[in-house]
């Protein structure tokens, strides 16, 4: 009896059970799995700490007073540290935007898609070209508005129309419209 026990323990290191599994496979798998879970849980904070920190995320809403913007006028503001273009369209510009065949656009959207109902004359877009991120011209007096009377990005020649939609040039998408709503009469909250 003692002999068998001795023999079993001497051979347990290399002894295989019927299906080719060794006794110590269990501890190998258990230890390495635990180490793997540990390694993953170490990796998560190391990767996450590079994501925007709480103070950066807190700059997530901006209020803009739009009551003084006249038709044909546009202002620039800042939203999440990037330029924000707010423009009040004239009736002619609204008609121009609605006259475009939407299916011919690279990024098909109507003016109504890009404005709030009841406020189709107020166009709020990011001032960031969707190509590589330059700030397009056209939001200030006297700036080049490009061939479609909207915005023109001088970096690589993207032309946007009155509704901020890409019409010509390398940019893939229309100027981004951030989430916004009217907080009160004449004041919008962006973000």
């Amino acid at each position: 009896m003692a002999d068998m026990g001795g023999a079993a323990s001497a051979n347990s290191a290399t002894e295989m059970l019927e299906d080719g599994v060794r006794r110590r496979d269990w501890i190998h798998i258990a230890a390495l799995s635990t180490a793997g879970v540990g390694a993953a849980s170490v990796l998560i904070p190391l990767v996450s700490q590079m994501a925007p920190s709480a103070d950066v995320l807190a700059e997530s809403t901006t209020d803009v007073d739009v009551s003084a913007i006249q038709p044909g006028q546009s202002i620039r503001s800042v939203f999440r540290r990037q330029p924000l273009f707010v423009k009040r369209l004239t009736a002619a510009e609204i008609a121009e935007a609605n006259a475009v065949n939407v299916s011919s656009l690279r990024d098909p959207e109507t003016l109504a898609d890009r404005t709030l109902p009841g406020n189709e004359d107020l166009l709020v877009t990011m001032g960031v070209c969707t190509h590589f991120g330059c700030v397009p011209l056209g939001s200030n007096e006297g700036e080049n508005k490009g061939d479609f009377n909207g915005y023109f990005c001088p970096c690589h020649g993207s032309h946007y129309d009155v509704a901020g939609r890409i019409r010509r040039g390398p940019a893939p998408l229309n100027l981004a419209v951030p989430n916004y709503e009217f907080k009160s009469e004449g004041v919008i909250r962006v973000g």
């Binding site: 230890a31 180490a35 540990g38 998560i44 904070p45 190391l46 996450s48 700490q49 590079m50 994501a51 920190s53 709480a54 103070d55 950066v56």
Partner: protein
């Protein structure tokens, strides 16, 4: 270097063969920590701390590099950036606590590693170089930790920097100029903070380089062991992988449990609350203390209260401040001379009864007393306690150790590691008498000393 019976690395796949020809990194790893590196089979847990120290270095570098993405070393904003890390950066609180407590754990591990070296005389031939490199690593660690503690620019950061850089003014003639040059100013300010950040980032990589030399020097003779008897035979060793990879892995698990417990549940226990107050050059804290791992050396620094004068003539040879500085640095520099101060041919403290008494009842209590005195205010009875402890500390290394190492009668050593572990060493018996089985179980050899080769 390897023992003759070390397994050779054999690349099996076409890729590993190609790699072995062009850049034999797998071979290097195999020979250093794999099955190709024989290690004494009887190492106890005191041998785990070298690997743990390496892990601590990696933890500090990783958390440090990541913290440096969010920290700014300008005195206007430094304190605020640390709070930004704690409050705004994702997991910033965890990374900061891991880095701060990681430094403490690095020192805990390194102190245990050093005490292993002191007890088992790891510093003796042929391992003197490993020991010397180790002392260099320790000095670099102290510099790194000191500068790192200044970076948050809290009260203790500033005033600790003030005290320690003030030591340089104790050096005769060049002291004041040296202090101003080091600080880039007349007291710790923006210039000092910026350069401390730069050097604090640099030194850990210097430490990593010296660690590589330290391990390389170790792999020439191979590890010592608790008996102090050198490896003679294949039966004395086991391959590093899987035996010590497993044992070190277990030790790492225990270490990480303790470390994460501190980080998550007691993150400020080892720190000083005053460092959560922004540095104020006009207001000195009631008690300036360094971090716990510097306390023994701080006690030695403050123990010297009287100038060294020529009696009756009133000529000051060395003033108390300079005496303290010399003693503080001397307390570490004395370690450099250990391989030559300890003259016993026996390595392991297990076989040196007189040495053991002075180790456990002399050196260890002295270090504990010094640590307590370092954290206490500079008043009685702590001053006289630190003076006695400092005196004993230097006496232990410079007087007691050389004397007892020559007069003590050591216990008989085992013939080999195999004999110590298995109770008998048949190969040894065969070598001695020329026939197998002539040695009987459990016999000890003659009480002949095994020279430390």
């Amino acid at each position: 270097m390897s023992f003759a019976w070390a397994k050779q690395y054999e690349p099996k796949t076409p890729l590993t063969k190609w790699l072995d020809e062009k850049l034999p990194l797998p071979r290097l790893v195999y020979n250093a920590v794999g099955a190709g590196y024989p290690v004494p089979r009887n190492l106890n847990y005191m041998w785990n701390f070298g690997v743990l120290a390496g892990v601590c270095l990696v933890i500090q570098i990783v958390t440090g590099v990541v913290l440096a993405m969010h920290y700014a070393a300008n005195e206007e904003v430094a304190f605020a950036t640390v709070e930004h890390i704690m409050r705004n950066v994702n997991y910033g609180w965890m990374l900061r606590y891991a880095h701060a407590n990681g430094a403490s754990f690095f020192f805990i591990v390194v102190y245990l590693h050093i005490f292993r070296g002191l007890f088992y005389s790891s510093y003796k031939a042929p391992r003197e170089m490993i020991w010397l490199l180790g002392v260099v690593i320790f000095l670099l660690m102290m510099a790194t930790a000191f500068m790192g503690y200044v970076l948050p620019w809290g009260q203790m950061s500033f005033w600790g920097a003030q005290v320690i850089t003030g030591l340089f003014s104790a050096i005769p003639f060049v002291g004041e100029g040296l202090q101003v040059w080091l600080l880039g100013g007349f007291s710790p300010g923006n210039a000092a903070l910026n350069r401390f950040f730069s050097l604090h980032f640099l030194l850990p990589f210097v430490i990593a380089g010296v660690v590589i030399l330290h391990i390389w020097a170790l792999h020439i003779p191979g590890s010592s062991n608790p008996t102090g008897v050198e490896v003679k035979n294949e039966s004395d060793t086991v391959p590093f992988h899987p035996y010590y990879t497993a044992k070190d892995g277990f030790g790492l698990g225990v270490f990480l449990i303790l470390f994460t417990f501190m980080v998550f549940f007691l993150p400020n226990a080892l720190g000083h609350p005053d460092n959560y107050i922004e540095a104020n050059p006009l207001s000195t804290p009631a008690h300036i203390v360094p971090e716990w791992y510097f306390l023994p050396f701080y006690a030695i620094l403050r123990a010297f209260t009287q100038d060294l004068t020529i009696p009756f003539l009133g000529i000051t040879l060395i003033d108390a401040k300079l005496l303290g500085v010399i003693a503080m640095f001397g307390s570490i520099l004395v370690w450099f001379f250990l391989p030559w101060l300890d003259k016993s041919p026996v390595r392991s403290g297990h076989y040196r009864p007189l040495f053991q008494k002075f180790f456990w009842f002399g050196l260890i209590p002295t270090m504990i007393v010094l640590m307590i005195c370092g954290g206490a205010p500079a008043e009685e009875p702590y001053v006289v306690m630190s003076q006695i402890a400092t005196a004993y500390y230097f006496m232990h290394f410079l007087v007691i150790l050389p004397i007892i190492s020559q007069i003590e009668v050591p216990k008989p050593l085992p013939f080999s590691i195999t004999e110590a572990v298995l109770g008998s060493d048949d190969s040894a018996a065969a070598a001695r008498t020329g026939s197998v089985g002539a040695g009987s179980k459990g016999d000890l050899p003659d009480a002949s000393l095994q020279p430390a080769e």
